[in-house]
Amino acid sequence: MSSENGKRLLETDAGGLNFEATELTLGLPGEPRVTSDGGAKLGSKRGFSETVDLKLGDNNREVKLGHSLQEAAKSPVSKTQVVGWPPVRGFAKRGKKSCKYVKVAVDGAPYLRKVDLEIYNSYQQLLTSLEDMFSCFTIRNYLNEKKIEQVNGIEYMPTYEDKDGDWMLVGDVPWQMFVESCKRLRLMKSSEAVGLGLTTGPKYSSTN
């Protein structure tokens, strides 16, 4: 079957919908589906030369990612930002001594997520990842007091329940201690958090 025939088949059976409008836009979940300026659209059909840059004959081969994935690679978080890839099962973290799955609840959202704290190395990575997961919300970043660009004007404070059942602000203790003691996370509406007396504790400023 030639590609030509295939294409024609698709067009005649299209049903009259405006397919121009549904141009493909590859992007990570939560990303706005707009084109980046000055160049190829995010995720548009990739010419082969754009995608691969092999150094043939070189044993330490590096394969450059296509445009859409280069965006992901630029982020400070490890590759795990692409949710669910590679497809290894979460519970059975093979080759690792432990994995620390905690549930993440967001005030006002009826669903929970799970994150594995072991895959992050710092609060910054964790918070960035949470922002991606719940991209409708902003997370108040206590580490450097910088507010991430607001989407719907609601601020959330990251809090967690520790081994003793107390609710603490994320960022108060050294990272490793946090990973060990955290039982679950809750992104609490800032207004509520103030009411509960979770004030800005001693700012965590030293390095991990």
Partner: protein, 587 residues
């Protein structure tokens, strides 16, 4: 008056004949012969398999099959294993248990996969089914050790309790102690997923010592080495065993106790576990190695030289699960030692690191495909591949029926030629005519899908990620793969055209999953209207798909055929056509 053929044999005779027909598929064919065979068959069907719990309702199953003894249900789609299905999506077993509690008092087997099981469901099982024998909860969640305690306390004839890869909350109750002292029927116990606080050793030892029929025992990683030896000595008749934590330094007394315990186990054929194993202890299992047919080392962080030593002791191996620490050299050793090998799974020890930390390449897989004539099932994670290797594998192993390759970095090309892997996977589908499951990876154009549509006539399940150029790719698969039941796609440029053109095909399949593709909400609504026997679920946590611009694509799409109509337990982030809004759960 001509006698109807069907009445030439009495119902009792037919029922007796049908009792020899076990396979679901055959049973379905039998029931389609004529009305009287349909009637006879439905009364004597004892075993039901429901691949998608939302494809049919429990009431419908009970109405047709009134005397079922064994049921298997699957809930969430496969990609839920990789966190692509948000929590709260669905897959609740309670409605099924509730209906069956009344209708099937003699139900004795329940097998569930990827379902949400609550303590309430477990308690209902415990009190409703008097002769309950088998409970398998694979990749399930939502229950705690409280529910397990109810099962232990009430199910006097329980033979099998298997919690493989489930998530169990620790309610701190010593549930194992709830098996009464008079309970002796355990045949298979798998509690490998439980955390450290959830198993009491003394209760476990007492249980094992009073169950003479115990054949399969899979413990969790908290059971220390000396306890392992004790338990093995209590159950030398074991066929399957999952071992546990090995201590840091080699102690000769512990070692000899363990080696002695293993040498008693003449029936042992399958070993797994091996968390934190220290290579110095491995020789303790050498006495059983020659008889081993299945070995799961996928939790063992031992390196190639020790792995080579181990597999060279296992000539009868049929199934091996291992980390990429085995390296190409280890796989070459496997290929020369294990001529009965049927299934190989190689997992990445560090999947999120761009750099390989073990010397495992396509060469290892080529070696196994050349050396193991019975190889049928492959799951292989690696960081580089070539079309030449894939063609070699295809030509050498036309008997492959499951081939899942994961080249870890998306869009990786053939490292020798820089080409996409169209030709390589094309060779796989062309030569392996019995292929029923295929997972693709690496750089792929629409061409590979043309090959798949043309050759993969027996393919039932296809997984695709970061592949293809246009709707044509999806169209090739949907129009060509005659046996396709499950299709799962992520991050591919497939959209409305292919979907709407092949709408009718979707009703011949169990399900289609598409996430991060290019399907519009308009197309979903259109498809839903066109195909009333499909449930078209848009899973989108960003808010109502209607509220975004027309050309915005949906986040995730799950389409499945159903005779039960739209489901009643949809969470707020699942969107269907407008008429279903009334069925939504209130937030």
């Amino acid at each position: 008056m001509p006698k109807r053929l069907a009445s030439s044999l009495s119902d009792e005779v037919l029922e007796h004949v049908f009792s020899f027909i076990q396979s679901e598929k055959d049973r379905n064919v039998v029931s389609a012969v004529c009305k009287s065979w349909y009637e006879i068959e439905r009364w004597c069907r004892r075993k039901i398999f429901v691949g998608n719990c939302y494809a049919v309702s429990p009431e419908m199953v009970i109405r047709r099959f009134p005397q079922v003894r064994s049921i298997e249900l699957k809930g969430k789609p496969h990609f839920a294993d990789f966190n692509l299905v948000p929590d709260g999506w669905g897959g609740y077993v309670l409605p099924w248990i509730t209906e069956m509690a009344g209708a099937y008092p003699w139900l004795d087997e329940i097998r569930l996969k990827r379902m949400v099981v609550t303590d309430e469901s477990l308690e209902l099982i415990a009190k409703s089914f008097k002769d309950f024998k088998v409970l398998v909860l694979a990749s399930c969640e939502g229950f705690s050790t409280d529910g397990l305690a109810a099962i232990a306390a009430s199910c006097k004839n329980l033979r099998e309790l298997d919690l493989r890869e489930s998530e169990v909350d620790d309610s701190s109750v010593h549930w194992l102690s709830h098996f009464p002292e008079t309970y002796t029927s355990m045949v298979s116990l798998n509690i490998s997923c439980l955390g450290s606080g959830e198993v009491s050793f003394s209760a476990l030892e007492r249980l094992v010592s009073r169950c003479p029929n115990l054949r399969s025992l899979k413990l969790n990683r908290a059971v220390p080495l000396d306890k392992t030896a004790n338990i093995l000595r209590l159950a030398p008749q074991l066929v399957e065993f999952s071992a546990c934590t090995y201590s840091a330094e080699l102690r000769s007394d512990v070692f000899s106790n363990l080696a002695g315990a293993f040498s008693n186990c003449k029936e042992l054929r399958s070993l797994s576990g091996f968390w934190d194993v220290v290579p110095d202890y491995l020789p303790a299992i050498y006495s059983v190695c020659s008889r081993l047919t299945s070995l799961n080392l996928s939790y063992a962080t031992i390196l190639s030289p020790d792995l080579i030593k181990l597999v060279s002791h296992c000539p009868s191996l049929q199934r091996l699960l291992v980390l990429d620490y085995i390296e190409d050299s280890g796989l070459e050793a496997l290929a020369s030692n294990c001529k009965d090998l049927q299934e190989l799974r190689v997992f990445p020890s560090d999947p999120f690191d761009a750099e390989p930390n073990a010397s495992l390449t396509e060469q290892g897989l080529v070696a196994v495909s050349l050396g193991c004539p019975k190889l049928q099932s492959v799951l292989y994670f690696c960081r580089r591949m070539s079309n030449a290797a894939l063609v070699t594998i295809a030509q050498n192993r036309p008997n492959l029926n499951r081939f899942r390759l994961c080249i870890i970095e998306p869009n990786t090309a053939d490292y020798l030629t820089g080409e996409p892997f169209d030709v390589g996977f094309g060779a796989i589908v062309e030569h392996c005519k019995d292929l029923i499951r295929l997972s693709l990876s690496g750089l792929l154009t629409d061409c590979v899908f043309e090959y798949i549509g043309k050759y993969a006539k027996k393919l039932e399940m296809l997984s695709v990620a970061f592949a293809g150029d246009s709707d044509l790719g999806l169209h090739h698969v949907l129009s060509g793969c005659e046996s396709l039941r499950k299709l799962e796609i992520r991050d591919c440029p497939f959209g409305d055209k292919a979907l709407l053109t092949n709408a009718a095909k979707l009703e011949t399949m169990q399900s289609l999953w598409m996430s991060s593709c290019s399907v519009s909400f308009e197309a979903c609504k259109l498809l839903s209207q066109k195909m009333p026997r499909l449930n078209v679920e848009v899973i989108d946590e960003r808010g109502p798909p209607d509220s975004r611009p027309e050309n915005c694509t949906v986040d995730k799409l799950y389409i499945y055929r159903s005779v039960a109509g739209p489901r009643f337990d949809m969470p707020p982030f699942v969107w269907t056509k407008d008429e279903d809004l009334a069925l939504r759960l209130s937030p």
